[in-house]
Amino acid sequence: MTAATIIFALVFYAATALCVGGLAWRIADYARTPAPLKIPTTPAPTTTGGVVLRMFREVALFESLFKSSLWTWLFGWMFHVALALVIARHLRYFTEPVWFWVTWIQPFGLYAGFALVAGLGGLWARRFLVDRVRYISTPSDHLMLVLLIAIGISGLAMKFLSHTDIVAVKAFFLGLMVFDWQPLPSHPGLYVHLALVALLIAIFPYSKLLHAPGIFFSPTRNQADNPREVRHLSAWAAALEKVKP
């Protein structure tokens, strides 16, 4: 058991705990906080089914962003779809036997790695080239892109430049999940990749990555437009009715 194995095992446990705990706390907080008024951005669907469809278009196709800016949509959508494919491809390192659709997706996931980095590059370029986006960018906005690009490039490097012992890596992660630690191969590229991924997982609930759960709780998108038909009343608003003016 190398020191690196022990360190990475502990780091991944900590990162996962921070991520799951933080997300659960954040999502519970969103769910608990009342939305006292009906504020869907209209025209809006009038039924729950319609809202589900609107939310699907928003999450899967980035409908509003498409209306707003084609370049941002192009790079942003490319990055997110590529990320989804890359994560799906990585599932083979966490499952045994590997699910059939994960096997099927492997070649797409490979090309998606390039699309991911290209999309991120486009998004980052906007932060320098468009004066409005440059104005609103904070250091963390830049660093988040640097982090994701570095994860992408270090991953691609292991595939195309300097292979690691991927069978051992898989054994390490399968072992982690059942608290049966297996040695992690010694490979600088792998260390960089895994450290950055752990960092990304850890900061997810404490950064702007909260946009992922946030969209589902956005009242302008998740409310049905039916205020005349159904009386909407939050708990604290209902309490006001008991007080005589």
């Binding site: 906080t33 209209t42 962003l65 946009h211 969209i215 956005s218």
Partner: protein, 497 residues
């Protein structure tokens, strides 16, 4: 403070996104409400001792009560999708008028006091202490947002800057830094019943003189009843409809529609205001108590239906919030929507063939339609999503022969605010209002040049007042703007069939 110089930007052939001009609108601030106005609404009279802690405390309370605020302060990724969507940014180039930058004025304080990252690494995530400078920025730039929600259409997470602006205004009110124009108006509603402070006798006098004019014009007894018990419909209109031009022409239109359809109706002194500035200052309690006057009047007069006149934010509050604030409406006729927009009522009558028009009476006009922001993006008419766009247009087509649409990027859900909404319709902000009207003026100029448009119809009292004021700055005739029911009034046939 002398009124700042008012400069209208030149109208361009095509919309152009301006280059950033940092600080260009830093001197545009509203008058601060004085102690008397503040205290009338239960707010502190002046900036309180320890305002910093109290502001942060109030923000904490709002975060517990409004999911929108919490989710929107967390979710922004600074993608810039909204950055070129605000009419005030397009008209001024001031970067703090980009919706995202406006939100960040509050977000940076939220991050500093309510998030781990902002407490530990403020510089990294753009978190900042609530200083006097930040408070000044709030007063300046949250009073350059008309809460029109255009940015929320384009945000991939639906972040609505109006929610952020309302929260900021509520915080400022709670520490004694209210906005004079809005708070003064709210006090008038509580005291007299309408935003303009028009007392009952003056209202009666106005309505009677309109009746006399109508008798002369039409030869018929078209009535504008006040406080009439047992009327079928309570009509709640923006108080500007009682005496301002062009607003009053729409009031005449409503009266003629009710007369032609034979529906009894009444106006109420107690609820002689459809507008609800409680919305603009983001104060639920104020919004509720202003709206409550409508419920009280409806019960007192024993009406069966409530209809709302041509007013944008009023329709938002009525359509989206009344059921929540002052419902349930189980004492009203369930066969009609509650509340109903005057356009819905007129449209139904047209569909049923219950009213007739001579369209040629509007032949002197080439008409276009300006969608008002709160109607377009925060409400609905009829049964279908988008009815708020189709119904007013259907009425215009039924009463006029010549109708032309403006640039598709400037109408329907993408419509531009007139530049005077959100409690900004005040003289000290005139420069901002003129500049904020730029995108609408460019779209209007285009159809004026191509199709000879000479009438821009709209269904909002604020739009009408704002355009009447700013049209001349862009070399247009101020009487180019008017109501949809102004056109209805011109064309409706009142004689026997």
């Amino acid at each position: 403070m002398a009124t700042a110089e008012v400069i209208a930007p030149p109208l361009k052939e095509y919309p152009v996104i301006p280059i950033l001009q940092a600080g260009s609108m830093a001197s545009s601030k509203p008058y601060v409400a004085n102690a008397q106005m503040q205290q009338a609404l239960g707010f502190p009279g002046e900036l309180v001792e320890g305002w910093q802690e109290k502001a942060v405390f109030r923000l904490g309370e709002l975060l517990k009560n409004y999911r929108s605020l919490k989710v929107y302060l967390d979710s922004c990724v600074h993608c810039g999708a909204c950055s070129d969507k605000c009419h005030y940014f397009l008209g001024t180039g001031d970067p703090k008028n980009m919706p995202v930058a406006r939100q960040d004025l509050l977000r940076k304080v939220y991050r500093r006091y309510f998030t781990w990252s902002g407490k530990l690494f403020p510089r990294l995530v753009g978190a900042e202490d609530l200083t006097k400078e930040v408070l000044e920025d709030w007063n300046t730039y949250f009073n350059q947002c008309s809460e029109c929600r255009r940015c929320s259409v384009f945000c991939p997470y639906g972040i609505d800057t109006a929610e952020i602006t309302m929260a900021a205004k509520e915080i400022m009110d709670s520490i004694g830094m209210g906005q004079k124009y809005s708070n003064e108006i709210i006090a008038k509603v509580h005291k007299i019943g309408n935003n303009l402070g028009l007392p009952g006798p003056a209202l009666l006098d106005t309505l009677q003189s309109i009746e006399e004019d109508l008798k002369e014009e039409t030869g018929q007894d078209v009535r504008l009843p006040l406080n009439e018990k047992g009327a079928e419909v309570l009509v709640v209109v923006p108080s500007a409809d009682f005496f301002a031009e062009p607003h009053v022409f729409s009031l005449i239109g409503y009266a003629k529609v009710f007369h032609a359809a034979g529906i009894s109706w009444t106006i109420s002194t107690h609820a002689s205001e459809a507008g609800n500035f409680g919305l603009f200052i983001g104060n639920y309690g104020q919004m509720r108590s202003i709206a409550m006057r409508v419920r009280e009047s409806a019960l007192d007069l024993g009406v069966k239906r409530i209809v709302v006149g041509e007013c944008g934010h009023a329709w938002r509050v009525a359509y989206s919030f009344w059921n929540t604030l002052i419902g349930p409406f189980d004492f009203l006729d369930p066969n009609h929507p509650v509340p109903q927009h005057i356009c819905e009522l007129t449209y139904d009558l047209i569909q049923r063939g219950a009213i007739r028009f001579d369209k040629s009476k509007n032949d002197q006009y080439v008409v276009t339609f300006h969608d008002s922001c709160n109607v377009a993006r925060a409400s609905r008419m009829g049964n279908m999503p988008g009815g708020q766009f189709e119904i007013p247009r259907a009425i215009i087509r039924a009463v006029a022969n010549k109708f032309v649409e403006m640039d598709p990027d400037s109408i329907r859900e993408k419509t531009f605010c007139c530049g005077g909404g959100g409690g900004l319709l005040t003289d000290e902000l005139l420069d901002l209002r003129v500049k904020g009207a730029l995108p609408r003026m460019e779209a209007l100029k285009s159809v004026v040049d191509s199709d000879g448009v000479n009438f821009m119809a709209t269904i909002c009292a604020i739009c009408k007042a704002q355009f009447s004021k700013v049209l001349p700055y862009y070399k247009f005739n101020m009487s180019m703007v008017g109501g949809v029911h102004q056109l209805v009034a011109n064309a409706i046939q009142l004689g026997p069939k």
